[in-house]
Amino acid sequence: MNNTNNSVVKNESEKEFIPYVDISETVDSYILNADMPGVSKENLDITLDNNTLTISGKVDYKTGDSYEYQEFELRNYKRSFVVNEEMNTKDIDAKIENGVLTLHIPKSEKTKPRKIEIRAAS
């Protein structure tokens, strides 16, 4: 799972933010958590094109016109990852709660650990 965001520097207004992501691996799946504050379920878009998984989110939070004091701004998010044959991309499960996206990517059958049966010698 490599980050494939090699886009050239865009205009200030159309530049998307790269969400912060944690990826962890368990025995039978990969879990991806992404912080996307301001994105609701309806404005989230997850696409899989060939072996590129792209998560993008539109911020639907209406910010004020001017701030007396400003530390952050909200912009749309976009980030792409490369998936490989180890992942069962058909059964990806996604949910978003409190601005945190959780993707559950099961491993494909052939990479899951399996027990080898021992036949009794007859």
Binding site: M1, V9, K15, E16, F17, I18, P19, Y20, V21, D22, I23, S24, E25, T26, Y30, I31, N33, D35, M36, P37, G38, V39, S40, D60, Y61, T63, G64, S66, Y67, E68, Y69, Q70, E71, F72, L74, Y77, I96, E97, N98, G99, V100, T102
Partner: protein, 137 residues
């Protein structure tokens, strides 16, 4: 007073800011590690404070008004297991920030809402901070 200030830290900090800009970082705060980022808007008698709080539920946020400072404290619990880690970019733990209000606010008229990881607090100027016309007999 003891201080470990070094001017080179500021120079390196500038490098981080520039690097962060080109990497499209969302809401880093290099100096204050565990405080949420906030925006403050003032509109007449109203003040709106917005804070970025991804992954935090209503029950985990504690808001306090002390005199005319607003304290936001919340605990972000880890939503992942300590399984084999491939990428680790998010921060967890206790976050807090104290914001001084531009005027005395009415403690009865504070409302807060949490939506999609963004906390919005609306505050209103208290009656005794508003200008009063004094009648001359």
């Amino acid at each position: 007073m003891y201080s470990n200030y070094s001017i080179f830290d500021d120079v390196l900090g500038l490098k981080n800011i520039i690097d962060g800009y080109f990497n499209g970082e969302t809401y880093t705060n290099t100096r204050m590690n565990n405080s949420p980022l906030i925006n403050l808007a003032e509109n007449g008698d109203h003040v709106t404070v917005e804070a970025v709080t991804p992954g935090v539920g209503i029950d985990d946020i504690n808001l306090e008004l002390v005199d005319n400072t607003l304290q936001i404290t919340f605990i972000r619990t880890k939503d992942k297991t300590d399984a084999k880690c491939i990428r680790n970019e998010r921060k967890f733990g206790t976050f807090s920030k104290t914001i001084r209000m531009p005027f005395r606010v009415d403690p009865e008229k504070i409302s807060a809402s949490l939506k999609n990881g963004i906390l919005t607090i609306n505050l209103e100027k208290s009656e005794d901070a508003k200008p009063k016309k004094i009648m001359i007999n």
